[in-house]
Structure formats: structure tokens, C-alpha cells
């Protein structure tokens, strides 16, 4: 709850909004059968992402999420969603940095959203300083494992959660 509060305070200016959002979060249903534990940033729930843009997936039955590691870790997997068109990634994550590899995609993209960091390893460039090989996700962000229609996978680190709403 502490990190939830921190996130909300940084993304809303009005105390009224804070109270409303906290109340809403207590009633928020679990996504894809995954129970999100305390920690990480919190999405809000609302109608900004219509089902034609974004819909929740069932981690237990949707085989497309299988190329993403750690999906059984309910404490880390915030949600699994399907974006109807990859090019619409900023409708789901308005603050996400530019991602040309998504911008031309008219096909669906499955996204597994990790609240406490992507659990897999990274093949760093060989000239990476050792201190840069140790990573902590930035506050208020999530990591996303995106699976294209071709089963190709791209992982995004430190994606701002602000504006994302669980469908």
C-alpha cells in the first residue's frame, strides 16, 4: 500500500482523487487469475481503454504468454493484456517511450506486465561496466514482455505506468 500511495501522490494533484483511487483499488478485480501483491506501481481501472484496444488475457489458458518468463509468479505479474494493434501502444501506455518496432504493427501484441521487474536475464554488450549490469526498475514504472503475432518478443524496461488502466 505504501508504494501504491506513492504512485498516486505523484500522479494526482488532488486529495479527492487520491481517496477515490484508493477506494477503487480495494475493489479492483484480479487480472487473469493473478493476484497482485503489495509493491510496484498501481494502475487504475476505467473505461479509457475500450475492449477494441485492450483486453485482459487469462495467463492460465493463453499459450502466447509462454515465451515470457516468470508468468507463474503472481506477485510480480501485474497483468497480461492483448493490444488489438501494436501501433496503438500509447493508447495503453501513454507515457511509453517511442517504439518504432510497434508503430507499424496492425496486428495484436500480447503484453505481460511485471510490476517488480522482468525476471529473466539480459545479454549485455561486452563493454558494459559491471555496475551497469545490476538493475533496479525505476519507481512508477513496469517492465513489459511484448509478444508479436509472429511470436517475436521484445522486452521493454521502465515503462511509465501512468495512464494505464486494467481493462
Amino acid at each position: 500500500m505504501h508504494r501504491l500511495t506513492t504512485f498516486l501522490l505523484t500522479t494526482t494533484a488532488a486529495g479527492v482523487a487520491l481517496i477515490a483511487a484508493v477506494a477503487l483499488s480495494t475493489a479492483m478485480p484480479r487480472t487473469g487469475g493473478q493476484a497482485r501483491e503489495a509493491g510496484g506501481s498501481s494502475p487504475t481501472r476505467g473505461a479509457a481503454n475500450p475492449a477494441t484496444v485492450l483486453r485482459s488475457l487469462d495467463l492460465a489458458t493463453d499459450s502466447r504468454v509462454g515465451v515470457c518468463p516468470g508468468i507463474a509468479d503472481a506477485a510480480n505479474v501485474l497483468a497480461a493484456v492483448e493490444l488489438a494493434r501494436g501501433a496503438d501502444y500509447r493508447l495503453a501506455f501513454p507515457k511509453m517511450g517511442r517504439s518504432p518496432e510497434l508503430e507499424t504493427l496492425a496486428t495484436p501484441v500480447v503484453m505481460v506486465i511485471y510490476s517488480d521487474g522482468y525476471p529473466g536475464s539480459v545479454w549485455y554488450a561486452p563493454n558494459t561496466p559491471p555496475e551497469d549490469r545490476e538493475r533496479e526498475p525505476e519507481p512508477g514504472t513496469v517492465d513489459i514482455c511484448a509478444v508479436m503475432a509472429t511470436a517475436e518478443r521484445v522486452v521493454y524496461f521502465d515503462v511509465p505506468l501512468e495512464g494505464f488502466k486494467v481493462p
Binding site: 518496432e101 549485455y124 554488450a125 559491471p130
Partner: protein, 258 residues
């Protein structure tokens, strides 16, 4: 070119032996993995290629390592990299890893992988998302194959990863916002206790390293003066890298069991 290469192979290549299930302990202490090999800073690179041995990469047992001791990973790559390393890389190579929590493809088999990444802190990348080089499996390695040429190449609006003449995977050039500056030919581990390259009796080879300075231009051959000591290089007592004295386009990497 191939004939010359065949002579090199005939003179220097030991018979391929599949390594696996060794009971050795490796002393690698790079908690986040480390690299061994050769890198060349040139300023502008449009491609990198080299022949890679197709033998199975060495596997150490993980006994005695302090963390993630069920996970093992070792790899060999040709790559083009950008400023300050990190995620700014396009790489094509072979991987052997175990631990499905690392990658879904880590089942202990030897596979081909293409990976790319970018960091928004790199010049030219402000406002872009952060992509770590996670990699995608593009095929399996037949360890009975002769050495094959692995390549990263910028052509036709794409950065592609090739094995021989076949493009196995690619990323849009518009996704690579950083400046490709360096050529890299290296082995890399995932974390503590992993091996680099081959064994003492069966070294892993990079051969005929080449770079491409201009898109659409010709490949240039160069000699490697010596292996690179990266900032987190593995202990040279056990992890070996050698440039062939009689042909400095060839490099061997291996790990001593102890």
C-alpha cells in the same frame, strides 16, 4: 576465400567434440555475467561477421556459486555496439543455457539467437523506450556442422542477423537510434560459475573476423592485436583467450576445469 579458410581450419581446428555434463567448477565471479573476446572501436560500423565453431559450448557445474546456482548460461556472439555498451547492441550468435526463468528457450540445448537493444540515454535515443537485448531463438545448432559464418548486417532498412547467407531475424533500422560504433566478437556468461567458450582440450574458435564500414560496401579483414580485457573480465587463471600468432584474424576461447 573459402579455400583459404578451409586450410586454416584444417591446420588449427581440433575435431569437434560435444562437451556436456562436465563436473567442473568454474570460478567466474561476474555476478551479472561477463565477456571475453575482442572489440574494435572504429566509429561507424554497418556490419560484423566471423566464422563460429558449432561445437557445444562448455558447461560448468554450478557448485559453490553464491547465487542463481540452478541457472547456467554461456554464449558466443558477433555484434555491432553503440556508445558505452549496455543495451546498445545488435548481436547474432549461439547460446547454451539452462533455467526457464531466464529465457523460455533455456533448455540446455545449443541454439541460435538474435538480440538487439537500445538505451534512451544514448545520443540520438532521447524519448525512445528502453529495450534490453533479451534475444529470440531463431534456430538450433547442429554440432556436426562445420564452422558457420555469423553476421550482423545493416542493409535495406533493416539490421539483420544471418547465418551463412540466410537472414534469420531482423530489426527495423528505425528502432536502432544509437550510433553503431564498435565491432565485437566475444563469449559471454550469464552469471557466476558459467564457462566461456570451449574446454582445455577443445577450444572454441572465432575465425576470419571482418567488419563493414559502409552500408553496401565491401567487408574488410583486420588483424586482432590481442584479446580485450573488459572491465569485468573473468579470472585469466582459468578463462583463456588467445589470438592465433600466425593468423591474427582467428581467436580461441576456453575455460580450464579446476
Amino acid at each position: 576465400m573459402i579455400a583459404v579458410y578451409a586450410l586454416v581450419v584444417a591446420a588449427a581446428w581440433p575435431p569437434a567434440v560435444v562437451n556436456g555434463g562436465h563436473g567442473a567448477i568454474c570460478a567466474n565471479t561476474g555476478a551479472g555475467g561477463n565477456a571475453l573476446g575482442y572489440g574494435r572501436t572504429h566509429g561507424s560500423e554497418q556490419g560484423a561477421r566471423a566464422y563460429l565453431d558449432q561445437q557445444s559450448l562448455h558447461y560448468c557445474s554450478a557448485s559453490g556459486v553464491p547465487d542463481r546456482d540452478d541457472d547456467r548460461g554461456t554464449s558466443a556472439w558477433v555484434a555491432v555496439t553503440g556508445p558505452a555498451g549496455g543495451y546498445n547492441i545488435i548481436q547474432m550468435g549461439i547460446v547454451r543455457c539452462l533455467g526457464a526463468d531466464l529465457y523460455s528457450y533455456c533448455d540446455g540445448s545449443l541454439i541460435r539467437v538474435f538480440a538487439w537493444g537500445r538505451q534512451p540515454e544514448a545520443p540520438g535515443c532521447a524519448g525512445f523506450s528502453r529495450v534490453p537485448p533479451i534475444g529470440i531463438k531463431v534456430g538450433t545448432v547442429d554440432t556436426s556442422d562445420p564452422p558457420l559464418r555469423y553476421k550482423v548486417l545493416h542493409a535495406g532498412g533493416l539490421w539483420g542477423g544471418y547465418v551463412g547467407a540466410l537472414k534469420e531475424a531482423h530489426v527495423l533500422e528505425s528502432s536502432i537510434c544509437w550510433t553503431p560504433e564498435d565491432l565485437q566478437y566475444f563469449t559471454e556468461t550469464m552469471d557466476d560459475g558459467d564457462a566461456h567458450g570451449g574446454t582445455d582440450s577443445n577450444h572454441f574458435y572465432f575465425a576470419e573476423v571482418q567488419g563493414l564500414g559502409t552500408e553496401g560496401g565491401g567487408w574488410s579483414t583486420f588483424e586482432m592485436p590481442g584479446c580485450v580485457t573488459y572491465s569485468d573480465a573473468p579470472d585469466p587463471t582459468f578463462y583463456k583467450c588467445s589470438i592465433e600468432a600466425d593468423d591474427r584474424r582467428n581467436m580461441r576461447i576456453w575455460t580450464l576445469d579446476h
